[in-house]
Structure formats: structure tokens, C-alpha cells
Amino acid sequence: MLTIVLLDVILLVLLLMLSVPLPYCFGGALMFMSIFGGVSMKSMMLWAFNQMISPILLASPLFVLAGTLMGGSGIAKRLLNLADSFVGRIKGGIGVVAVATCAFIGAISGSGFTGVAATGPILIPRMVDKGYPRGYATALVTVSSILGLLIPPSVIMILYGWVTETSILACFLSTVGPGLAIVVTFSIINLIWAKKMPNIVLEPPLESSEKRKILLKRMRVALPAIAMPVIILGGIYGGIFTPAEAAGVACVLSIPVGFFIYRELKFDNFYKLVGESATSVGAIMTMIIFTLMLSQTYVMLRVPQAIIEIFFNLTDSKIIMLIIINIFLFFVGMIVNDATGMILVAPLLLPLVTKLGISPIHFAAIMGVNLAMGGVTPPYASILYLGMRIGKCEFKEIVTPTMVFLLLGYLPVVILTTFIPELSLYLPRLMGLL
């Protein structure tokens, strides 16, 4: 059975390389699993339909539209102009803004999609305007988007808490340390890299009185725009709406602002922007339907269980075991989505790691950082693909910067999280949850 799965993954990679549209890459791999793996397709469409209509998935489409409308309405421009008053003279400044914004979005949403969905349509074109290569800008926003799963709330941590009977609050806190570490490493890499980019446009140096005048002017212009993030954050933390609803509210509010206050929206470009968002949503969601079905075939054939049986009886050494676990989780992240990976693997691995003396909360963080990364590691890389779509960017442009951020910025944090328990246990301990 594992041979079939291996062949299936090879087929998937082959289809991807043939540049077959993504829904058909995953559809083809699904076809293979159904025909050669003997998984019945009868109820699979029914299953997928019910996955797709989940209100949880709706958040990303709404955020795509919200991000696009905030871009088209001129709201984003005013906000970024204002930000430029502070960081516009630093090479790489807007890159740090991108990372920080994704961390911020991560604090309101529980999914890895939201950061790139909401800020991609705004930040990527802006960075390109400022002279960053398109692939770099898209990669930076996309990899930062996975902070949504590390900064609480987080869907995968809720699932981990549920399947392992661990305090969800403690799980939430366990990935805060690693998440902040990633904010730091990504920002540093970005600052260093930006120094070497030849075309970056900086704000002209000005005298301080001039600077203040421009800042005040930009603040005044940005006032209606500033209301947006205030309403969104206030609404979520004030208990008025859920993150998905916040996206809906942002869409609705940006319409009058764009039409009547900033007057950048006209019916024609409004129609075009909404239509483009819908097509983007369709492209990504039709892909997700088939990735979900493919994941379900692996679930039904108990693929992770089979792999665990092979690999986890090899050694008693704690360090080697932890390394194997990380590699295993990396592969799980490559072939299934984060939520599926969590539900399947957490209860299987937890007894193994508790025997090694690792606390369930520490393990929550280990699983969290590994599975969150899965969203950007091909072949199953739905967040990366969404980023490519939103950034209007091709795979060959995005792949190198993505790998650099993952290898130099993300992987070190995975290693730290694995071998330094305090990184994830400090906050839960501080809050008395240990």
C-alpha cells in the first residue's frame, strides 16, 4: 500500500512539473488512488461538498475580496503611505511591515491563509512598485502568512487540544514564542536581502520640519482608512464578530469608502476587481476540493499509521527520535493539509513522545511549527499556491526566495522549538497553565 502512495506522490510531482492546472494535478493523484488504491469514490464528492461549505473555509475567500477591495478603494494606499513615513527610508522597511502585518493578522485569524489573502493584494503590488522582485515580495508575504497558525488563535491548536485532551489555551501560548522568533528571523533575512536589491525605491531624505508636515498630511488623508483596521481589530477583540465575519464587514465598508471618500472605485473597476477575486477564489478552492479528497484517501488507507509503524521502532535515543519526528512531520505536511495532519498524527505520536519525557504542550509547539510549514512546502502547498495566485507570480519566481526563507529563517526555529522546550513552555508556565 505504501508503494502505491509513493507512486501517487511521484505522479503528483510529475503532473505539477507538466504544469497541469493544480485542480487536475490533485484530481489526477486522486484518480490514481481511487483506481489503484481501491478507495471508493462514491461518497467522496459528498464528503468534499460538506468540507467545502464549512463556514471556516469561507474566511479565506472573504479575506481575498476584502484585501482586493481595500487595495482598489485606495484605503491600502493611504495606510501604506502613512507607514512609509516611518519606514520608507529604510531599505527593506516595507518587507518588515509585511512580516509584522501577517503576524498581526495572525492574531485575529486562526488559519494560515488569511495573511496572504488579506494583505497579499495590497502589499505585493506595493512592494513591486518599490522595486522588490515580484517573486521575492510574494514569497515573503506567503511564508509570513503561516504565522496565522502560530500566533493564537489557531485552528490546528484547537484540534490538537481536542484530540490530545490538552488545554487549548496552553497550546495557543506554546507557539507564540516560536512565532515571534520567526517574525525576527524573517525580518532580519529581509533586511539583509533588501540591501542587495538594486532597484529599491526609497523615500527622499527630507528635513525634519518637512517630514512632519508630510506625516501630518498623510495622517489626515489616512483617517478613514485607519478606521478599517480599528474596526476589524476592535470588532474581533470586542466580541462583536468572528474573523470570517470581520472580512465580510471589511468588504462591505470598503465599498462606500472607495466610491465616495477616496473616489478611486468606479463601477467598471469595481466589477473587474470583484470578478478577479471570484476567479482567484475559484482557482484556489477547486484545487482545495481535490487536495481534501486526496487527503481523505490517505486517511482511509491509514497511510500515516503505516509510516509510523515503520519508522518509530528504530531507535531509543531521544535526539534521534526527535529528528525522525520532525522529518516525519515535514513529510506529513508535504502531502496533507494542516488540519488533517493534526487530527491524524497527534494522537499517534503523543504516546511515543511522552515516553521520551516530552510534555504534551511542548509537543503541541513541535507539531504546530512543522505542520504550519506544510502549507508552503510542495507538492501539497495550498498557501504557497494561493500566494502565487494573489501575487500574480509564477512558481519559478517564487520557489527560490521561499526556500531561502524556510531554510534560513524557519528551519532554525523548528530546531530551536524541538530542542529548547522553554521556547514553547515559558508562556504557558507564566500563565500558570503548566
Binding site: 507538466l18 475580496l65 477547486t286
Partner: protein
């Protein structure tokens, strides 16, 4: 008006209708969410059932959006091999292969969505609160995939025509 131009005008009208529908659905969704927030927070009378009604625009948005992407030949893809293809002829054959594979997979998926379409028609379920037949949502999978298959088939025909044309041209140049 010949049969060809008649087909063309039907095609044009249908695709325009598809674009309009997607626009309407996409714009309805945030308003439904917004209304629910208002009802719950401002008027304190949340409507049970809005979530259920949202099922329909959601699934149609996904499937029609996917069909749009197929129509515009604008699905996400990760062509790494295309980097190494220099000759036009190779590229044409490559495109035909790609479209052929896509069409095969699409047909197979459409077949199963048709199975589900029939199942949904037979069982005829209703949503829990508002009691709208679920068929009107479930059928989106079949219809969306059918559209995607049609557009993929048209794409394949295009690639074949381009290939045939270049073959013909080559022949003419030789003779």
C-alpha cells in the same frame, strides 16, 4: 448568420452570463455576513438560518470561479519543465499533452460528480432550518466541473489547431 457565428454568439452570451453570476454571488456573500453581524450585535436578534442560506452562494462561487479560471486558462500551475523548453514545436506538443491529461482527469472527476448529482436528486435533502433543497447547492459540483471540462476541451482543440497550422506552414515552406 451561419452555424459557426451562431455558436460563437451563444458562447459569448453564456460566458458573459457566467461572469455576471460570479460577480453577483461574490458580492452577496459579504453582505449576508454583514447583515448577520448587524442583526446579532446591533438588533440582538440573530437570524438562525443565514449560515445555511450561505451554503448556496459559497459552493456556486467556488465552482463558477473555478470555471472562470478554466475559461481564462488562468488556473494556478507550477510549470518547471517549461523553463527548459526552447523550441516552439516542443512547446506545442507539451501543451497538447498537458491539456490532454487535464481533460482526462476532468472527465473522470465530472463522471463522479455526475454520480453525486444523481444521488442528490434521488435523496433530495433539505437544510435543517430554512428547508431549502440541498440539491441546488450540491449540483454546483457537477455543473462547475462540466463547465471546466468543456473549457479544457476547447483549450485542447486550440492547441491541436495551432500545432496543425504550424505543421501545414512547414509543409508549405518545404514545397
Amino acid at each position: 448568420m451561419g452555424p459557426n457565428s451562431a455558436i460563437r454568439s451563444i458562447w459569448k452570451n453564456l460566458t458573459r452570463l457566467q461572469a455576471k453570476l460570479t460577480f453577483i454571488i461574490m458580492i452577496i456573500l459579504p453582505f449576508m455576513v454583514f447583515i448577520q453581524v448587524l442583526l446579532r450585535y446591533v438588533f440582538r436578534v440573530p437570524l438562525m438560518g443565514i449560515e445555511e442560506l450561505m451554503i448556496y452562494p459559497i459552493i456556486w462561487l467556488y465552482m463558477l470561479g473555478g470555471a472562470n479560471a478554466s475559461l481564462e486558462r488562468n488556473h494556478i500551475s507550477c510549470g518547471i519543465l517549461t523553463l527548459y523548453i526552447k523550441r516552439e514545436r516542443t512547446m506545442q506538443i507539451f501543451n497538447i499533452t498537458k491539456a490532454l491529461v487535464s481533460l482526462g482527469v476532468s472527465l473522470w472527476l465530472t463522471y463522479w460528480s455526475y454520480w453525486y448529482f444523481l444521488y442528490s436528486l434521488k435523496v433530495w435533502k433539505y437544510t435543517d432550518l430554512v428547508k431549502v433543497p440541498l440539491f441546488f447547492g450540491e449540483s454546483a459540483l457537477f455543473i462547475g466541473l462540466t463547465l471546466m471540462t468543456i473549457y479544457t476541451a476547447v483549450e485542447l482543440v486550440d492547441y491541436i489547431q495551432i500545432f496543425a497550422r504550424s505543421l501545414r506552414k512547414e509543409k508549405e515552406e518545404l514545397s
